[in-house]
Symmetry: C3
Subunit: 208 residues, 3 copies
Amino acid sequence: MAGEETLVFWLGSAGFGIATVIFASIGLKKQTAGINAELFVSFITSISYVVMALGLAIVIAPNGDPIYWSRWLFYIGSCSILTTDVALLKGESSRKIAEIGLYTGLTMLAGFLASYVTTPEKWWFFGLSSIAYIAMLFELNRGELAKKASMPKILAFVTLTWSLFPVVWVLSPTGFGVINIFVEAILYGVLDLVTKIIFGLYLIFKVK
Amino acid sequence: MAGEETLVFWLGSAGFGIATVIFASIGLKKQTAGINAELFVSFITSISYVVMALGLAIVIAPNGDPIYWSRWLFYIGSCSILTTDVALLKGESSRKIAEIGLYTGLTMLAGFLASYVTTPEKWWFFGLSSIAYIAMLFELNRGELAKKASMPKILAFVTLTWSLFPVVWVLSPTGFGVINIFVEAILYGVLDLVTKIIFGLYLIFKVK
Amino acid sequence: MAGEETLVFWLGSAGFGIATVIFASIGLKKQTAGINAELFVSFITSISYVVMALGLAIVIAPNGDPIYWSRWLFYIGSCSILTTDVALLKGESSRKIAEIGLYTGLTMLAGFLASYVTTPEKWWFFGLSSIAYIAMLFELNRGELAKKASMPKILAFVTLTWSLFPVVWVLSPTGFGVINIFVEAILYGVLDLVTKIIFGLYLIFKVK
């Protein structure tokens, strides 16, 4: 059932495993405000990739490709940690941080439902997920930006790179099936690498 | 498998979708303490109703009617937001707010188990859910009420209307099956409307 | 499918049910910092034992014994409450408390995956769970201990007794199957009793 995408998932497991160790060792030397978000994001992602590599949580798309729906359940945890960390850096109130975290969690929960359902009714959940995602971006981008000089750049980066995830989703077997599961796995893998590891290293060394 | 209750669920999806938009636009104009609880409650409920409308998460009751157990999993999120919001309005300590949220979540988790199990053993979970629910009501109602003049009325309203949910549960195919799934869906729909939309509008315009 | 371990689970349900009542009545008389952690830990555990007693969430191990994987999902809630409570008592920052809670939750999530998967690939998740567990112990034990005179004793107790859980896991049908499910259920039951009820009573009467 599982094909050559399995290799991508093992590479992802290894990459995020190494990233976890790196962020843990940085965390021992450098104390920042808030939790060591980068460490937890990488650790949760490495568990997620092992689950996919073992093919444990799959439904079959209309084109016969497997859909790894567990990815989106793990994103509920990892992506909420990421966005609340950015909101904290931006100096938002705890009220706004909680709202941004909730919108992120609901984006990924509806994204899970959209992936799990393989009939055209999936688009209901894609729509609900998109609404929560746009609300999250709106809350994250509006308001004062004064606190950190690099904040506009960070927000533009998050807005741009995160918005490529639903593009991949639409093109993949989860959406219209223009690309196959192997290409999908590579694209998500690169996006995960950029938005979680490279972004995390940038935050730690240039911003925090 | 799914019958005419599906129409009720689509109506619920639409109603809570509209309520989400209304609470979102109010939230842009009026800032309140805490998160925009009404918005998140309505949005989570609209996702819950789409899941039920599509018949995605069902077990079959002894009388042959479908039981939509996902309702209770979504209540874990939406109802915890609601009760912690009321506790915050009441001026409770963060310790008490956390306890009230935990009791609410456990009420709905055990309620899910009671709905998912269709044998008489379900009553174990109905009992556990009831204990958590009574503990929640006890914590919410005891102690100082001074902060808001309208608080006694709010607490009486919550205590009364929320307590109709287990009554519907007992009469429904989940319990003794005195009423059928169509009537159940209408009764829960009216209760959801009253406790989540009308109550939310009251809180925003008269209390907050 | 379920055997004589069912009796152990019913005993556990009853024991933790009684413990819940005891901790609730203590909580009415004695106010402590933080939530009534002991009460919620016991209540969640009693629900968990009823789920196991009813045999609701089972996979079959290679030796034919049932594996009750829901235990680990309930530990996500109960054990996170326990470790964050100990971290709060120790006087840790909210940042550290959140990290300790997250590590605990990830330990139990990966522990659930390790239990749910019955092929040798389960050891991936056992490894990931162990890493999260060691990180949790490391965070909990390092740093200042000054706040309470009994803290070194408490931390040694937690470190020692909690570390027996993975030992039981490895010996059980979940691991190498050296002991059977009946012995496993008794050992976990005794460990739950010691780490959740007796430890809770000690904290309330001697420390808090």
